[in-house]
């Protein structure tokens, strides 16, 4: 294989994909819930947090948005972009400069707005930038292995989030096809995922362990 990607770099690329996807979803879902909370439907925001295993109280819509963005929890927008950026910094020699630049800019914007009321328009902009970042990584004609790892991480995270937030197996069927395709590209020994409804309770565990088929962590 021409890429010669190390175990460490492969792991960081995979997690870059996961955190980017989680960050994107958290912005979209937080903005969605924000609209409900403005109408004093506080339960909508609390339900979103509950699906992520969190429990928060807030007094108004602005406070909800601040908690979703900067709250001290691993589903916060800020946390996910910080982690995406950390992973990107470590393997930035393997990724597109413009993609890194967009991601870094999202992080810089989040840091600069930390002590202010977060604007939903700013979050909309970040959502666009996140999608641009992902688009840059995947739109290149030359697609080296590095991007397959990012994409693999992104699809694993999509599956995980769809099961947690939407509790739907149907929604992930297309993603499974992509995961199997990428798995084969990255490892000739990759065993295809075939999901049945009886797997519903162990979907997260199943998908979260797939990367171990590709990266030889123990070697």
């Amino acid at each position: 294989m021409a890429g010669n990607i190390t175990i460490r770099a492969a792991d960081h690329l995979y997690w870059l994909g996961r955190y980017l996807q989680r960050g994107e979803t958290m912005i979209a879902e937080s903005l969605n819930a924000y609209d409900y909370v403005i109408d004093r439907n506080f339960a909508e925001g609390q339900e979103l947090f509950a699906k992520l295993g969190l429990s928060f109280e807030y007094k108004n819509a602005k406070e909800f948005l601040h908690l979703a963005t900067y709250g001290d929890h691993t589903s916060s927008i800020s946390y996910n972009f910080e982690m995406a950026r950390e992973n990107a910094i470590i393997c930035r020699d393997l990724i597109d400069d413009r993609g890194f630049g967009f991601l870094n800019q999202i992080h810089n914007t989040l840091q600069a707005a930390k002590d202010k009321d977060i604007s939903s328009y700013l979050l909309e902009d970040m959502l666009n930038d996140t999608q641009t970042t992902l688009g840059i990584f995947f739109s290149e004609i030359y697609r080296p292995e590095a991007y397959h790892f990012i994409k693999f991480g992104q699809y694993i995270e999509r599956v995980d989030l769809m099961v947690r937030i939407f509790d739907s197996l149907e929604m992930i069927l297309l993603d499974i096809e992509k995961i199997n395709m990428l798995g084969h590209k990255l490892s000739s020994d990759f065993k295809e995922v075939k999901l049945t409804f009886s797997d519903r309770d162990r979907v997260s565990i199943l998908f979260n362990s797939l990367i171990k088929q590709i990266i030889a962590y123990e070697s």
Partner: protein
């Protein structure tokens, strides 16, 4: 005094007066967006920060740079020969040119490597030579040779790309030497000394102050960026651990960590960033290490004094570039001079680097002068003293317009199949007026360096 008399600088100023300075913010934005950082550790905290940048480049007329290039090639040829000699026959010591005590007491001299000649006999693959231009003599003077892990080339390389796009008018109207060949110089050098296998850049990790540079150079040279956990030595051969469990042979390591931390089995046993066994692979000539292990003896501040003598000894030539006038307390005559003129000399601790351990006699109190006097008498090998050179200031764009600042130039020399001087360089400047310390680790900023003219 500002070095502003050259036609090239005048041409620059002519254009500079017409440009939209508001667009300079795009360059700062570029540095922020792309995380072009030179990070600092302050009071135990890791501070991520862009390397302060000034838009006014240092401009060196081509004819002046040609002279520098000849002098730097000559100096690196001599220093490489010195290293090969000092680790083999030590003729220069036996013939009394360099005192044996100076070599033996140099902290970075590694007697365990006596007799070892690295791949292709090249030791100083990448050198960063620090120079200033003396305003009294109008000549470039060498302040320091860095033959271990000189950093900084990536910053002017990165900003040049953005600057050209922001202010193309300079490049359309002036003849400015290209700099983008630096990574290919590095790659060709790595391939030349490679002992079989791929090239890697070994970084201490993400929290190193120059991590940006490590990843940049890996990307631009096509080498893999690795940390110690990505490498393994089996039967004295170095391998990269690929994600699928395969091991890929490594033939050249551009290491960005000091000798002391390179191999816990050989050097500092507590090193968490080294690769166990890499030195054995190196000694068996199964891998090239860039720069060679033990190079520090040649850029020791005490050995610096002898470089002009080395040039005469090895090459039979007069040095093209001068050292700053330097005195060694080790020699009785010099010691007497130093002690009599402490208040006007610059005293340097040979064990320190990065602007640390530098004392300006004129700024010391009576008590401090007495203290340093006693230290010099007690440990003469530990210090050197230099005349304070009144080097040129350079224009910097400050809030109130162009303002002079002290600055130096780090020139880069790549030694592979042949010796190449990069037609650019890192110009560092002091942020505060009157400060002579320009080092990045002292909070100094950087400028691009343009070699201009036909």
């Amino acid at each position: 005094m500002v070095d502003d008399q050259s036609l090239e600088y005048q041409k620059f100023l002519e254009i500079f007066r017409t440009i939209d300075l508001g667009k300079a913010s795009q360059l700062k934005e570029f540095l922020n967006t792309f995380g072009v950082n030179f990070n600092l550790f302050k009071d135990g905290d890791f501070i991520e920060r862009p390397f302060p940048f000034d838009i006014v480049p240092r401009i060196i007329p081509k004819s002046e740079f040609d002279h520098l290039e000849r002098g730097l090639k000559q100096r690196m040829e001599a220093l490489n020969r010195f290293l090969n000699d000092i680790y083999t026959d030590q003729k220069i010591v036996k013939e009394g040119i360099v005192p044996a005590e100076f070599v033996a007491s140099a902290k970075a001299f590694l007697p365990n490597f006596m007799g070892f000649v690295p791949s292709k006999g090249v030791r100083s693959h990448i050198s960063g030579i620090d120079l200033v231009k003396n305003s009294k003599t109008d000549e470039w003077v060498i302040l320091e040779d860095n033959l271990r892990v000189p950093s900084g080339a990536s910053y002017p390389l990165s900003i040049r790309k953005a600057f050209r796009r922001t202010y193309p008018e300079f490049f359309e109207s002036m003849t400015i030497a290209k700099v983008k060949q630096y990574p290919s110089y590095l790659e060709e050098m790595m391939n030349y000394v490679n002992c079989g296998g791929i090239n890697v850049v070994l970084t201490p990790g993400r929290f190193n102050s120059a991590f940006y540079e490590h990843s940049y150079l890996a990307k631009e040279t096509g080498a893999k960026l690795v940390t110690n956990e990505d490498l393994i030595v089996v039967d004295d051969i170095l391998y990269l651990k690929r994600y699928d469990g395969a091991k890929v042979r490594v033939g050249a390591v551009y290491r960005r960590l000091d000798d002391d931390f390179l191999d816990p089995q050989f050097f500092e046993p507590t090193s968490l960033i080294g690769v166990p066994g890499i030195i054995n692979a190196y000694l068996k000539k199964n891998v090239a290490i860039i720069n060679a292990v033990g190079n520090g003896v040649a850029d020791d501040k005490g050995i610096y004094y002898f470089v002009p003598k080395m040039i005469r000894y090895y090459l039979g030539e007069e040095p093209i570039l001068s050292n700053a006038p330097t005195y060694l307390p080790y020699f009785e005559e010099d010691r007497k001079y130093i002690l009599d003129h402490l208040h006007e000399l610059v005293i340097k601790d040979v064990a320190e680097a990065g602007g640390y351990g530098v004392l300006f006699g004129s700024r010391l109190s009576r008590e401090e002068l007495a203290s340093i006097r006693n230290l010099i008498i007690a440990e003469p090998r530990r210090f050197i003293a230099q005349e304070l050179i009144e080097f040129y200031d350079i224009d910097c764009m400050m809030e109130d317009g162009l303002s002079p600042r002290k600055s130096d130039l780090r020139a880069y020399v790549i030694y592979g199949e042949d010796i190449r001087v990069w037609s650019g360089g890192l110009t560092r400047y002091a942020l505060e007026a009157g400060n002579y310390l320009v080092n990045s680790s002292q909070g100094g900023g950087f400028k691009d360096t343009w070699v201009a003219g036909e």
